[in-house]
Symmetry: D2
Subunit: 93 residues, 4 copies
Amino acid sequence: MLGYTADKDAYLKRLRRIEGQVRGLQRMVENDEYCIDVLTQISAATKALQAVSLGLLDEHLKHCVAQAVAEGGEVAEEKIAEASAAITRLVRS
Amino acid sequence: MLGYTADKDAYLKRLRRIEGQVRGLQRMVENDEYCIDVLTQISAATKALQAVSLGLLDEHLKHCVAQAVAEGGEVAEEKIAEASAAITRLVRS
Amino acid sequence: MLGYTADKDAYLKRLRRIEGQVRGLQRMVENDEYCIDVLTQISAATKALQAVSLGLLDEHLKHCVAQAVAEGGEVAEEKIAEASAAITRLVRS
Amino acid sequence: MLGYTADKDAYLKRLRRIEGQVRGLQRMVENDEYCIDVLTQISAATKALQAVSLGLLDEHLKHCVAQAVAEGGEVAEEKIAEASAAITRLVRS
């Protein structure tokens, strides 16, 4: 079982909302809406995606990483290295 | 005319691709794909949104802000203050 | 005259404070303080640097870019392209 | 023993270098150097701070969080929640 499985519906709901936000951006551009207003909505969609990432990462640490650490040895080291790499990508995106 | 009007189709194409990425994220969660893989795809979608923002901002400076500055006075000051606020939101999202 | 010249003392004061924050980080590491506490202080120093950047960028737009735009032609285009590149670096740092 | 203790000297060296970068920024402002050049150096200092954070976080996961998880129970949950909060601050700074 994955970390996020228990909250799957909530994550799907959030992702559908973000999909709607991106479609909304298309309508704004279609309708020649003011650049700054489009930029404001993009920042909102980016923040929503970021929040999903932080939630998934938290659950990953609690479940997948914790299980691997309990197992110990190379499995644990690899899982932590993998999580650190994901954190780096998230910080730099 | 807005800064991005000349590139409207290109922006719409990029936003439709990002919409597809977000739908792809839903399928990954639907199919219980590994958390790290979902996180990697979210970082890709976030970077794509960020690139759209940077493009719109560049065009906004070239057209809307430049026109206002050429006009001078309060119009110019307001337009630059507005652009700076948008840059701050972008940096902090 | 540069955009920030009028506020030079304020920027120097802020940078000296950030220098002090970084020295403080060294003391924390020297004294084996808890990782999370060190991380919290690094985030504070990073935010302070970011705020200096946003201030300088705002002043740059108001003065250097506005002057170039008033001049028009290639000078204006180069100055806006340069500002956009700086915004991109700031967003991605 | 903290996660970073084994690499303490390396972290101190990096932080001293960042301190030097911030003093360098002061000299640039003192000498009225061009705004964009100052901004470029601030981005470099911000990236250096970020890299220190990512290093500390990786070591924290490997040592402090791993030890707590091996212990299990509330200690583990608290330690992971604390790490997640630090990751959120890092992503949003």
